[in-house]
Symmetry: C2
Amino acid sequence: MAAPNFDRTELEALLSKRFFYAPSFSIYGGVAGLYDYGPTGCALQTNLLTVWRNHFVLEEDMLELDCSILTPAEVLKTSGHVDKFSDFMVKDTKTGDIYRADHLVKGVLEARLEGHLLAKMGKLGVTGGDKKDAPAKPAGKKVKKGTVVAVQLSDEVANEYQTILAQLDNYDGPGLGDLITRLDIRALDTGNPVTPPVEFNLMFESSIGPTGQLKGYLRPETAQGQFLNFKRLLEFNNDRVPFASATIGKSFRNEISPRAGLLRVREFTMAEIEHFVDPLLKDHPRFAEVADVKLRLLPAATQLAGGSDITEVTIGEAVQSKLVDNETLGYFLVRIYKFLIRIGINPDRLRFRQHMSNEMAHYACDCWDAEIQSSYGWIECVGCADRSAYDLSVHAAKTKERLTVQQPLPEPIIEDVVQLTLNKKVFGPRFKKAARVVEDHLNSLDESQLLALQTQLATGAEVPVVAGDGNTYQLDASLLTIERVQVKHNVREFTPNVIEPSFGIGRILYSLIEHSYYLREGDDAQRGVLSFPTCVAPFKCLVLPLSNAEVFNPTVQYLARQLRRLGIAAKVDDSSASIGKRYARNDELGTSFALTVDFQTVKDQTVTLRERDSTQQIRQPVDQVLVILKELIAEETTWKDVVAKYPLFTAQEVPQ
Amino acid sequence: MAAPNFDRTELEALLSKRFFYAPSFSIYGGVAGLYDYGPTGCALQTNLLTVWRNHFVLEEDMLELDCSILTPAEVLKTSGHVDKFSDFMVKDTKTGDIYRADHLVKGVLEARLEGHLLAKMGKLGVTGGDKKDAPAKPAGKKVKKGTVVAVQLSDEVANEYQTILAQLDNYDGPGLGDLITRLDIRALDTGNPVTPPVEFNLMFESSIGPTGQLKGYLRPETAQGQFLNFKRLLEFNNDRVPFASATIGKSFRNEISPRAGLLRVREFTMAEIEHFVDPLLKDHPRFAEVADVKLRLLPAATQLAGGSDITEVTIGEAVQSKLVDNETLGYFLVRIYKFLIRIGINPDRLRFRQHMSNEMAHYACDCWDAEIQSSYGWIECVGCADRSAYDLSVHAAKTKERLTVQQPLPEPIIEDVVQLTLNKKVFGPRFKKAARVVEDHLNSLDESQLLALQTQLATGAEVPVVAGDGNTYQLDASLLTIERVQVKHNVREFTPNVIEPSFGIGRILYSLIEHSYYLREGDDAQRGVLSFPTCVAPFKCLVLPLSNAEVFNPTVQYLARQLRRLGIAAKVDDSSASIGKRYARNDELGTSFALTVDFQTVKDQTVTLRERDSTQQIRQPVDQVLVILKELIAEETTWKDVVAKYPLFTAQEVPQ
């Protein structure tokens, strides 16, 4: 749902004009799902990542990594991505156009439900574009792209559609195929039948080295690099858990049909945290600090019942009731919430949605998405998954590296075990080349099998065993000893679990832009404003001379130099546009403050300081204004405090 | 050349132990040319990039962009990379091992020259490993990897080898092939003959989208994204040049045989600037500020004469004498120099080497590399090329977009031109479908041809012309007018030239580590220190309790909190290692300062502040120390000032 009066076309025009971002390679016709960030978007992103780094890496003492994007196939085979990191696609049987299967089902069912509503309201026919005011046309079987057919459905069917939509993320490929057949889902653009869904792996493939023999992929997430460095990280952390690593970097997914601007792209910046924790100790030392924070939750159970009602509870209650699995997961949900609010996301348009079981990634055992509402609907912007011990376990099994924590036990643990000891002096010479395969066979026996063997050998008989090579070998008591012994463990060894908050920076950035955007009445027309919090605003301050009269230059230059010295990102706008136009341009850039140099400046060395959202101004001596500005940007004071302390300035001059 | 007493093995052990960086995917056996940065290296890189962004983007008001890495083939075809971005490789004819041709020639000739020196010193035979003290062995034709054969060469041959090495970057593939044949260059590892050099394109290929029909590459440089956005950037800059764009991001080159650690890798972070400038106005408004800065230059002419002597001149002189082509190029050389010195590069181990003509990239018209000396020799770390109008021109020609600047002229320029005007009313009906091809033919005529045609038509005769379709068409005076007219130009249109400083961040980072590294006598052994300037040090401050006695905790926690509040990257080390060991560990991390909490702290709330390089300490009250530390890190004061003001503290306690 969009905010009231929100017009995406207008916002997009602003974003393009002010070069927040634009389709990549547009002079070559562009490539779907690839975008370039301009100076404004790039600064916004850099600031957003700085807040992120302070909020997570510095405040939580995380170990930041920067790992390779190119990844050999073997790593992603082990992690499960080669086999399972895919979406389902269908083809229009006549045109060959490709759709993502779940998106097609969603599009068709939503259109049918909309047609149902129209029909119930008494409108017959076909609508296109702006659905409310579209002219009615006769319903037909084949209709053009983006059209809605006003056909009333039975309540039963309408309810079924709604339930399917609520659970859509829970369908796999065959499930989607069944829906497509049963509900006669056809290609949106042509009305043609579509093929059954086929799996399409979302990773970009390449080959590494001059021989072309080493197959690789562009990483689809930054997580694997962090897992593979687990041993080094553990050592860096003095062999203690819990600790967290973090990575900010690009990942790549070959989306089937990219759309919705920055929300579904093929190359994107992620910020991912891997928090390694003892599986038996998932409480969090700082949980008490956040227990009272209320979150808006959408549990899996609600969705499975076909609903979407929000449960608003404190995270303390949610963890206590086991709705959220453990304290660490809960702690991170709150930290994510606080980060998003800090950068300017509207809390009323933010919710945490729990994954349903089939929806969960192949590695996850519980997962909550921070979803942000924009004109595109509710969009996953942060995932927060408990990946359990999945990744470390599979990489350890594949590479034979011990990706575990060894923890000294306060008291040793005594354990009874059945121990097999080979008499190597006899064993080796007896079996020669086959010694290895016989040994492997013996090692594969469990305790009861070993004890049974021991009983047989104790009779003094030769015992035939069939080893892994299919041959039979004769054992006797001279070759080995099997006995019950007590083993003392001084160390507990375990594979840590991983809690993973994973941020899609482009999605957050776009949502933030929508939440920050509003229209203000201008001199001649409504004008867009982007009311970013100062901490993320691309530019903090605009410096502008009232006109391009020479006499303003020294003060403009002085201000620019001082702002640079203070590390404040500022822009000088000495173009010939009117002062009102330049303020408006700046509101569109989301610049928090403006300093204006006018004829009074020349007389008394005062300048005006304007705040973007209130458009209020004060007038003070240049150096005093710089002090105020510095405090505002460091968030040591607020604009409310400033106008309480200094008189408002209202008599804006006009150029002479 | 390495610094005196430098031992790379020791440094590499330190870098691995303190997790600056490590080979990627090492638990899977690793992939050559791919590295992961650990917490220390990652923080070092982030700080280095922050200094870079302040030094260039903020101070020079550049427009930062973040563009797509995935790039459609057509773009890189146009830019010349598909055809020309390659190195030459040769294969061992027996083993199939692959070498980069120029590296092989260099390796073999250097080994021969070394053998020549050994032989002249009277050592006969073969050496391996540490060359000075190796035992003499008889010379043989096939010797093992890394060995040097002591064979004296004629002075003539030795001189020729030296000249070839000085000019090696100037050889193309066939040239290298000739050298290999003529000088009997063989595979280093086996002594086998090698194949003639073949070109190998260094770009990683992939395909974009689900159909696999759109071929793409991973960008080999960030520059193309900046060129493709030229129109948007120009508009953002109010249609004025000069201006510069900048990008920090990853690029990819499929190196034939990556080696030398971070110096030759397949995936790397670059920081690139594209400065767009009027080709007729390459002076720079701030050149006077830098004109007196002396640089160490290695001109192309010196290299072509087989030499490597440095010319040390001010950039003012270098530009005046045309050694450096223009002020803008010279200005950037100084800015690069200042950046490198600021982050801690040793100025005596830094030079600017001019490219020789064949060496220059396909787009460049003049180029200087900032080369930094390390144990691997002189390595290009920053390129500074004048790419002329090459890139904008080829993209404009390919896409038909006008990638030009339109500049209002102060005085209109009046120009005499010969103008062709078609009488469309007659022309169209006469030629019908062929009208287009006849018109194209007329438009292709130059002024003298048009005037000749005019003379013929003026006789009233029909004039036959052969158009592009091979057919003959009859023209007469009713169809067109050709006349001399005066045209007034109010606007000058030109394609800007581009000056491109391009930074290899990994190479700079590694060189910086070598320049910062030294050994200090410790209690029991020499210990490594990394004396990074504070602005780039991965961690600014260590906080450590004298022992793990409970009584120190409150102050340690207080300090950690305060440092976080001040935005100072700090680490607490409360491990059980001795205080000396923990200081040493910290010297290895390059941490500038340490705060130690001891029993005196508990009594009088003072702590000691230790400086890494001098190992001097002062002791002051906690909050006073925080103020001093803040000033030190902001570079508002120096350690010299601090010890001049506060007494040194020498009586270090030992844990009780």
